[in-house]
Symmetry: C2
Subunit: 370 residues, 2 copies
């Protein structure tokens, strides 16, 4: 099956921006034809990638059925998302295995899906930086537990480097191809640096739930700025001041930032009371908090995150395609997505000039049309 996308501004995170047409065939990008255009109809970017989302529209990673995961996937097409990792919260071994098995089966049963695996956010984190994670399930990592909870599709795991077992399980995680992200951590600068020098170069929802910057002890925040970490960011305008987002952009550059939503089931739904891993969450004006005021995930949608980042930083579209897809694809070693390039999977998003999602393509098929 063939499809031609014509008269568009093509935005590739490596080659940059140029006008022309793109031919899709058999689920892949068959050819790209740059062509001078006086004006273009739409913007074509690699489909967005969200490596950190707990749910939306009443669906929650920890409680969902396969049918619900299907609905979730479908909903995310409307956001231009063509790859995402359902993300757990700290849980016991049994629940982790349950979710992983479900997601694994879901992927196996489909020839084409935007579900690319799972992200374990915890439970091997620091209780002192638990944020909206259930304290009861937070624990050290052990080699034995890894044998039970690791699957090939566990692509990402958020851990605190100062919590017991971190260095013990590191080789096993690497062997499994699981990328480690530092988060919910009270690690000081030297602990962060040690992890970095051991190849762990990623930080979860920077700088939320990590040790703050001090000029004599730089903490996790200082490590994030000073060392060459790749950082997730929740760009909803609530978790981070717009100026902070811009500061990270100016300091580290678009090459080191990965947009995430960190959304919970309340996203898309009305304000009200919800549940996150056994904790009561109250949502007001789209802001999700625990009773103690801690932020509890977000109600951010990916399409909005992309618009916000553009607005907060005034970055180029090329840079925008880096933070919304390419960087995460590279970081998680997912091949053949995140670029508009011959031979790459035809996972694409078509945007209007205000960056609203008009159409989404998954493996060359239109899966969303406004």
């Amino acid at each position: 099956m063939k499809m031609r996308i014509e008269n568009v501004l093509i935005v590739d995170p490596v080659k940059g921006e140029f006008t022309g047409d793109v031919l899709l065939e058999s689920g892949k990008i068959k050819s790209i034809s740059p062509r001078e255009l006086k004006k273009y109809d739409a913007i074509l970017m690699p489909g967005f990638v969200d490596p950190h989302t707990h749910g939306c529209a009443g669906i929650d990673t920890m409680k969902m059925s396969k049918e619900e995961l299907g609905k979730w996937e479908n909903f995310l097409y409307s956001q231009g998302v063509t790859a995402f990792l359902p993300t757990t919260v700290s849980a016991n071994e049994k629940d982790m295995i349950h979710v992983s098995t479900l997601v694994g089966e879901y992927i196996k049963e489909r020839t084409s899906t935007s579900v690319y695996g799972i992200h374990y956010e915890g439970p091997y984190i620091n209780v002192g930086k638990k944020g909206a994670q259930n304290q009861k399930t937070i624990r050290n990592a052990t080699a034995k537990e890894m044998e039970n909870v690791l699957y090939p599709h566990v692509r990402l795991i958020t851990m605190a480097p100062e919590v017991g077992g971190f260095y013990d399980v590191l080789p096993r995680l690497k062997e499994n191809g699981t990328v480690i992200s530092l988060g919910h951590t009270d690690a000081n600068f030297l602990d962060m640096k040690r992890a970095f020098l051991n190849g762990v170069d990623r930080i979860t929802h920077f700088p939320n739930a990590i040790k703050s910057l001090h000029h004599r002890e730089l903490g996790g925040v200082g490590a994030g700025f000073y060392l060459d970490f790749n950082v997730e960011m929740i760009v909803d305008g609530v978790h981070l001041a717009p100026e902070f987002v811009d500061m990270v952009y100016r300091t580290k550059g678009a090459g080191k930032i990965m947009l995430i939503t960190d959304s919970i089931e309340a996203a898309v739904l009305k304000d009200g009371k919800y549940d996150l891993g056994g904790l009561k969450v109250s949502v007001k004006d789209g802001k999700a908090t625990l009773s103690n005021g801690s932020l509890a995930g977000s109600t951010l949608l990916f399409g909005q995150a992309v618009k916000n980042f553009k607005r907060f930083t005034n970055c180029s579209l090329k840079e925008l395609s880096r933070v919304s897809s390419y960087n995460t694809a590279i970081n998680l070693k997912i091949k053949n997505i995140g670029r508009i390039k011959e031979g790459y999977k035809a996972n694409l998003v078509l945007l209007d000039k205000e960056l609203n999602v008009s159409k989404t393509y998954l493996s060359g098929e239109i899966v969303y049309e406004r």
Copy 2:
């Protein structure tokens, strides 16, 4: 009177590094002769400028006689310093006038001196961020008081923008040519930004005694990083972690950093008990603290600050000349110093390759020789 400095690496903060000779005549740089050299004997840089020092070698701005100021000036030649501002601590009006009068007379009595005026550090600061400033003398600024304490040679004043009177006295300070530096302040990001937009683009001993960075309220630290502020830094390895210094260098660039010592009378002297504006200061292993543990100025010498900055950041010599002289000269609008350029004052420092001071020139005269 003529003098020729030959076979040196000339380091100009604008033109950069090149080998050759420099001819001095009548106190000025008469000519510069670039010349290819296989090897050079020494490094010639603009004489160092310290805009923030309370004293050294038992001499204290608040208590010194003119004779002591002369001794201080002489001592600083050994550090390559050819311009400095004796700096007060928060004090009552009478003491401020006394010091200003003394410094004013001292300058007037000399045809050539490295004393370029005075820096009032306070008293118009925030009590909550007083650091080692005497709380009793901290107060709001008033138009009336300005009439009493302002002299043409008051070149610099450290103030907190959130403290009463700041915006009232701003026009008078500008008119007097007094540069305002934000410091000892609990101002939030917006307060800092407001001051910045009103032309106050300088921060005192960044980021000591200002509001820390938070990702939802960037504070003074965030403002320092995010906005185009010029920042003083105490690069003694005690006030700031070396990585923090390097982070500021990488983020803001050498063009926005001004080295200072913030030294107190204990500098050069042995460890022991000292006094700073009526507060008891204890010095151990060169680290000066109040009884509550607060840092109380430094025992840093300028020559060491220059070496430290080079070591912490691995900057170029051109950049080193920016942070050690040029930036401060430009910032304080002092003309004809801070460059190695025809017509500029022959205030120079000759360094060996380990950056030890070998010779210091003031108005073309050798005032120090190792």
